[in-house]
């Protein structure tokens, strides 16, 4: 079945507060046991930091999927920071190791989408590092401020790309690969072999690129049918590569051939299509 629940927080006004002077909108996801506790300690200790951050408490940093983060960027967030326990300190033993893997994918997809990867940060903050929390937030806020407002709101092309990256993050293929990544590397696969980190990362990066590009094709061909060459131009991708993606998407019943323009066929996204 397709993952039909398309969760978006685009409409929420929180992030869209009208102000004459731009202030970065930053969301922080803090794990209950370390970074949220660290933030509390920061407050208890009266360490100050800029007001831009809005924190969301989660039980473990690994709860945050790439989809959630990309959704935030789609909605116009200027920065997202994830806070977790230091490695080997996770309350859930290996949670933050998985967070690391997911974080890598988020960065990859942001890069693809044309969003500066520096708008996303992962920090390990322990329950005793109140001061560190304030420094991290201050530093990150400044970093985002320097980058300026996210291009998503103004630039339709970037918006489409982020939507595509979001779509890619939801595919079973990427979820499966990244979900299994840590175990394949550390505890070994079904054959009892541990996979080389770099090899695995290479494989995932390639898969992420594929899925992002396919997702972008679907986004772009939703409003109107487009040709391979047109898509190639928009996406800055060789036409043969686009065609290969279209072959896969047609196989999955996600895009269909539309009217040809001369000798050039066009393709349109199938709204309710998809693999079983």
């Amino acid at each position: 079945m397709t993952e039909v629940v398309h969760h978006t927080i685009e409409d929420k006004k929180v992030l869209d507060a009208p102000s004459k002077e731009w202030e970065p909108k930053i969301i922080g996801f803090l794990c209950n046991w370390c970074s949220y506790a660290g933030a509390d300690l920061c407050g208890v200790s009266r360490y100050q930091y800029p007001t831009n951050i809005r924190a969301v408490r989660v039980m473990c940093s690994t709860r945050i999927s790439a989809h959630l983060v990309l959704d935030l960027f789609r909605a116009g967030a200027d920065g997202v920071i994830l806070g977790g326990c230091h490695l080997n300190d996770c309350h859930y033993i290996t949670g933050n190791f998985h967070t690391e893997k997911r974080f890598r994918l988020m960065k990859e997809l942001l890069k693809d989408a044309g969003i500066e990867p520096d708008r996303l940060r992962l920090e390990w903050v322990s329950a005793s590092e109140g001061e560190k929390f304030s420094k991290v937030v201050t530093d990150f806020t400044e970093q985002v401020r320097k980058l300026g407002p996210s291009k998503v709101k103004k630039d339709a092309a970037v918006k489409a790309k982020v939507e595509a990256a979001d779509g890619a993050s939801e595919t079973f293929r990427l979820k499966a690969l990244v979900g299994k990544e840590y175990n394949l590397e550390k505890t070994g696969n079904v054959y009892g072999n541990r996979l080389e980190k770099s090899e695995l990362e290479k494989l995932i990066d390639l898969a992420a690129k594929d899925e992002y590009e396919r997702s972008l094709i679907l986004v772009l061909s939703k409003e109107k049918p487009r040709s391979v060459k047109e898509l190639g131009k928009i996406m800055d991708l060789p036409a043969d590569k686009v065609l290969r993606h279209i072959v896969v998407l047609r196989q999955k019943n996600m895009i269909s051939m539309d009217h040809p323009e001369g000798l050039t066929p066009t393709y349109r996204t199938i709204e309710i299509g998809g693999e079983q």
Binding site: M1, F172, V190, Y191, K229, I246, V247, M257, P260, L263
Partner: protein, 1016 residues
């Protein structure tokens, strides 16, 4: 070796179309078969093709029945993913060690549902689609693969474990090991097929560098509806429709620079086919074929070529392409060539390289392990009179592994090799096969229908969309349904046991399974209910997967409703099902062979060796046929000596009765029970007929002064003179295609080009100073025969090409011959004054084919040759069962081809002769004698000649149609045609079909209400 040492089993190596054909012929003739295939599924190259020439049939559609039959045959063991490691022993008793690679999936548990592949996160290019599509690390080669078992690609699998989690049947076994099997067989058939020439080696064409240069096999996939572009012709660089497509012929063929001097035999025809089909699929495509000689030498191939030129608008340019370059901006391709003596340049959007055939990559390993010889080109060595035998006794070969060849010849050879492989071990026939025993059938007569319904989840394939429990509950509410249940996989082994239990427990007398398609699964369930004592025809299926859940996956409510409708329809029909009996007919285990040429003698001898009686009828006073007039073979073998040897063997064989100077008056009867009377009054009873009546050389009376001037003769007449040692002339002119490839006789006679080479070489060898000119249209020395063309050229024979429209002119001036010909290459007229003019005249059918055809109820081509059941896959059969064709009676061909074909006819015939009785179909037409008024309208509708108007038994004055259930195939054509409603198709009675329709329409009423709920 004592007869008892012989093993009644055969190993077939290679599961393409040849391997499947050989396996089926043997398994149907009483031998156990082990079919070893190196890939995970059988099907070979043919499974990749979009369409086939000259019939333009969809390749998969015509081969799928053979795939399924091979996969299901209980006397064929498939050993896929395997290779031959060691072969010990001798003909009759081999021990073969086979190494089978792990699938990492249990084939017994895998149901082929494909959930694993859907979820596998690793993508790789698909070999079946020649890299134009993607597959996963767990995959099947193609959707219709046999066996339909997924396997894990060990190179690609990252071991994430998702497939095992997905597999509801628990079939994934990551720790499955490779297996070593030891198999005892009596003979071996090699059918490993071929590899395509590696187009990268011809760097001047830019394959692998320019994206829009593809090979012909890639183009097959591009054309295919199951290929990457769903059947629209697109080019790989940008997905545009290529308006201009160039086909370059002879890539890796007839080319000493790349090491392949031979002609690949099939490329001319497949290029024409690809060009025609491309245009048919996408009308904007305009193909041009660049060729050297157009070798359309097969049966009715020239007609296909003519239509391509005149009707389908395909352009043909006679030129060898020197080089291809790319315009980097447009990715279009520029072809440089010389035509009519001038250098030319033309731009195309796409280029297809017609790549030649190479021996399979493992040819040397096979040869070393199995100890048989390869020829200089790396193909299996065979002999002029032993076309399917390797150099090692007991090991046979068929298909492209012995020489490049097309599908019909491959299939004929496969059957031929089966005949040979069987005759070695004929004393051990029926020793290793199993016959399934079933319990006595329970009578259901007079009982009310008690229907059991089994609804399948098919893992998540059905259950993920359709609410299976709801469908099951619904089934329980239907009239006569006394039991219903749901299964995770109704086709699994444990489910079969449950079905049997439930039949007993609930006294079920009808079974309905709602799952996938009856086309693949009905035989399985029929077998199960037979094991429980029910007649196989008390079974019905509802296809709620392929035709419901898979196509309505986003509309679960509507799909559930449709499933209920389908179940209701199946139950409605099931209520009216009745047990059907497969009638049996006795078989007269002897053969009639008509024609005593090489084809007829070969067939007679081979059947006799298999242990059956043969009646060989020849109209001439002595045996031998046309082969006696050949005198020379290009290989240097002596055909006359061979004919004499055959003659001796035939006349001294105790199983063969020879009738010479005999003419057939009448052949009557049907498969298993024929009765033939000769003009002499003798009567013969037999079970099968082989038509091997041969052909004859056309006598071109009145053409080119033939019959008027003694120095003008036909090719066979020349050979006779050469053989007799008549004094030689100093100058010869040969004219090709006399009586072939022209109005009235549009097709090629196949053998004349090579025959001319043989004669020309013979002349030059005897007198190197003799001048020999060959006036031709295309030189068609296909396959390894190319080397004789080359040899003739090297010996100084001059070849002059004339245009199809401008024939040479021959006159007699002052007692001397004068030949004028317009040289197509230079555009100049050439005048020759030869001593002898030799006409390479075509092959014509025997005139008595016309009297035999209606007697045997078999068709003929326009030219009068016998027309086989299917040009591609049934080259020696007729639609009428029990009658087979071989040799020149089928069409022009070489001696070795005739021999292979007559062996094929023997293998096909043996599938009948090896049985004491034949089982007819259960689904047949029946006639109500009271309603039939003998109008005979139904008779011509039957393709199988099963209907006949006869005098009524009760009242001889009344005419009546009789159905021969032995011949009836159960299509129902006659039933639909009967004006009196007297014909009934068993299993598809009007009442049964109507019951289904009624049940379907009944669903329409409440459906209207439900539609609203379904709207989302």
């Amino acid at each position: 070796m004592a007869a008892s040492d012989k093993i009644g089993a055969v190993m077939v190596v290679g599961g393409g179309i040849a391997g499947m054909q050989a396996s089926l012929d043997l398994a149907d003739s009483g031998y156990k078969v082990y079919l070893v295939e190196k890939q995970a599924s059988i099907g070979g190259t043919m499974a990749q093709l979009d369409k086939t020439f000259p019939t333009n049939d969809c390749a998969m559609c015509i081969m799928a029945p053979k795939l399924v039959a091979t996969g299901r045959h209980h006397n064929i063991d498939l050993i896929t993913n395997a290779e031959i490691a060691i072969v010990d022993g001798d003909a009759g008793n081999f021990t073969v060690t086979v190494k089978q690679h792990s699938f990492r999936v249990d084939p017994k548990k895998c149901t082929g549902c494909g959930s694993c592949a859907q979820k596998c996160p690793v993508e790789w290019t698909n070999e079946y689609d020649e890299g134009t599509k993607m597959r996963k690390a767990i995959y099947v080669r193609y959707p219709q693969a046999v066996p339909l078992v997924y396997s894990i690609d060990p190179e690609r699998c990252i071991g994430c474990g998702i497939c095992a989690e997905e597999c509801k049947a628990k079939a994934v076994e990551y720790d499955q090991k490779d297996k070593v099997l030891e198999v005892k067989v009596g003979s071996i058939i090699l059918t490993p097929g071929f590899d395509e020439f590696n187009a990268r080696l011809k760097t001047e064409y830019g394959y692998g560098v320019y994206q829009n240069v593809v090979t012909s096999i890639e183009f097959e996939r591009i054309m295919s509806a199951t290929g990457p572009y769903f059947g629209t012709i697109l080019r790989p660089s940008d997905g545009d429709i290529p308006a201009k497509v160039a086909f370059i012929q002879c890539v890796g063929s007839r080319d000493e620079h790349c090491g392949n001097e031979y002609c690949s035999s099939v490329c001319c025809m497949y290029a024409i086919k690809e060009a025609a089909i491309a245009k048919e699929h996408t009308s904007q495509v305009n193909p041009t074929i660049f060729f050297m000689d157009m070798r359309a030498f097969g049966k009715e191939f020239d007609e296909y070529y003519n239509r391509a030129q005149n009707e389908w608008g395909i352009k043909f340019v006679r030129s060898r392409i020197a080089a291809v370059t790319e315009n980097p901006k447009t990715k279009n391709l520029i072809l440089k060539y010389v035509a009519n003596g001038e250098p030319k340049e033309e731009e195309f959007n796409m280029v297809v390289l017609s790549v030649g055939l190479r021996p399979p990559v493992d040819n040397e390993t096979l040869s070393r392990v199995m100890k048989f010889r390869l020829n200089d080109d790396g193909f299996a060595q065979t002999g002029a009179f032993s076309p399917v035998e390797t150099s090692r006794p007991g090991i046979y070969v068929a298909g492209a592994f012995s020489a490049p060849k097309d599908i019909p010849m491959t299939v004929a050879e496969a059957s031929g090799a089966a005949a040979k492989a069987g005759s070695v071990i004929s004393s051990a026939r029926n020793t290793l096969i199993t016959k399934k025993e079933y319990p006595k059938e329970m009578s259901v007569e007079g009982q009310d229908a008690r229907i059991g319904v089994f609804v399948c989840h098919c893992g998540v394939n059905i259950g993920g969309v359709v609410k299976v429990p709801e469908v099951m509950e619904y089934a329980k509410t239907l009239p006569n349904v006394v039991y219903a249940e749901q299964n995770l996989y109704t086709c699994s082994q444990d489910a079969q046991e449950r079905i049997k239990e439930k039949i007993k427990e609930h006294k079920l007398n009808r079974v309905v399974v709602a799952s996938c398609t009856p086309r693949t699964h009905e035989p399985l369930f029929q077998n199960t209910i037979r094991e429980a004592g029910l007649n196989a025809y008390l079974f019905e299926m509802a296809n709620i997967r392929d035709q419901c859940s898979w196509i309505h996956m986003h509309e679960p409510k509507a799909a559930t409703k449709k499933s209920k409708d389908l179940v209701r329809m199946a139950v409605a029909k099931s209520r009216l099902l009745e047990p059907l009996q497969n009638l049996t007919m006795k078989v007269n285990q002897s053969a009639l062979v008509v024609g005593g040429g090489v084809a007829g003698m070969t067939a007679a001898l081979e059947i006799a060796k298999q242990g059956y009686k043969v009646h060989l009828v020849e109209k001439e006073k002595e045996l031998g046929g046309v082969a006696k007039k050949l005198y020379y073979l290009p290989s240097g073998d002596d055909p006359l000596a061979y004919v004499r040897r055959l003659d001796k063997e035939v006349t001294s064989n105790k199983n063969i009765t020879v009738y010479t100077g005999a003419k057939i008056r009448l052949i009557d009867g049907y498969v298993g029970n024929f009765k033939t009377s000769l003009e002499s009054g003798e009567e013969i009873e037999h079970g099968i007929v082989i038509l091997a009546i041969g052909g004859q050389e056309y006598k071109p009376e009145g053409e080119y002064l033939y019959g008027k001037n003694k120095s003008v003769m036909t090719l066979l007449e020349l050979k006779e003179r050469l053989h007799k040692g008549d004094p030689l002339g100093k100058e010869y002119v040969f004219i090709q295609c006399v009586g072939s490839r022209e109005k009235g006789h549009p097709n090629c006679s196949r053998v004349c080009c090579t025959g001319t080479m043989t004669a020309a070489i013979e002349i030059k060898k005897k007198d190197p100073k003799a001048k020999v000119y060959v006036l031709y249209r295309d030189i068609r020395t296909y396959g390894f025969r190319e080397k004789y063309y080359k040899e003739a050229g090297n010996l100084g024979v001059t070849f002059i090409r004339f245009d199809d429209e401008v024939k040479p002119k021959v006159e007699e001036k002052g007692g001397k011959l004068e030949v004028k010909v317009m040289d197509e290459d230079t555009g100049k007229e050439i005048m020759l004054r030869p001593e002898y003019l030799v006409l390479a005249s075509g092959t014509r059918p025997q005139p008595d084919a016309g009297t035999l055809a209606p007697m045997c109820k078999v068709p003929q081509t326009k030219e009068g040759f016998f027309l086989e059941a299917h040009m591609k896959l049934r080259p020696v059969d007729f639609a009428t069962e029990g009658i087979y064709v071989a040799g020149l009676a089928h069409g022009p061909k070489f001696l070795d081809e005739s021999i292979a074909q007559s062996l094929a006819a023997v293998a096909r015939a043996t599938t009948v002769l090896s049985k004491t009785e034949l089982e007819a179909e259960g689904i047949v037409a029946r006639i109500d004698e009271d309603l039939c008024d003998g109008c005979g309208i139904c008779v011509p509708t039957c393709e199988y000649k099963a209907l006949e108007v006869v005098a009524g038994k009760k009242d001889p004055k009344k005419k009546l149609v009789e159905v021969n259930v032995g011949l009836c195939k159960g299509c129902g054509a006659c039933v639909g045609s009967c004006p009196a409603g007297a014909l009934t198709q068993m299993g598809y009675r009007d009442s049964q079909i109507t019951a289904m329709i009624d049940a379907a329409l009944e669903g329409q009423m409440p459906a209207k209400k439900e539609v609203k709920q379904n709207e989302h």
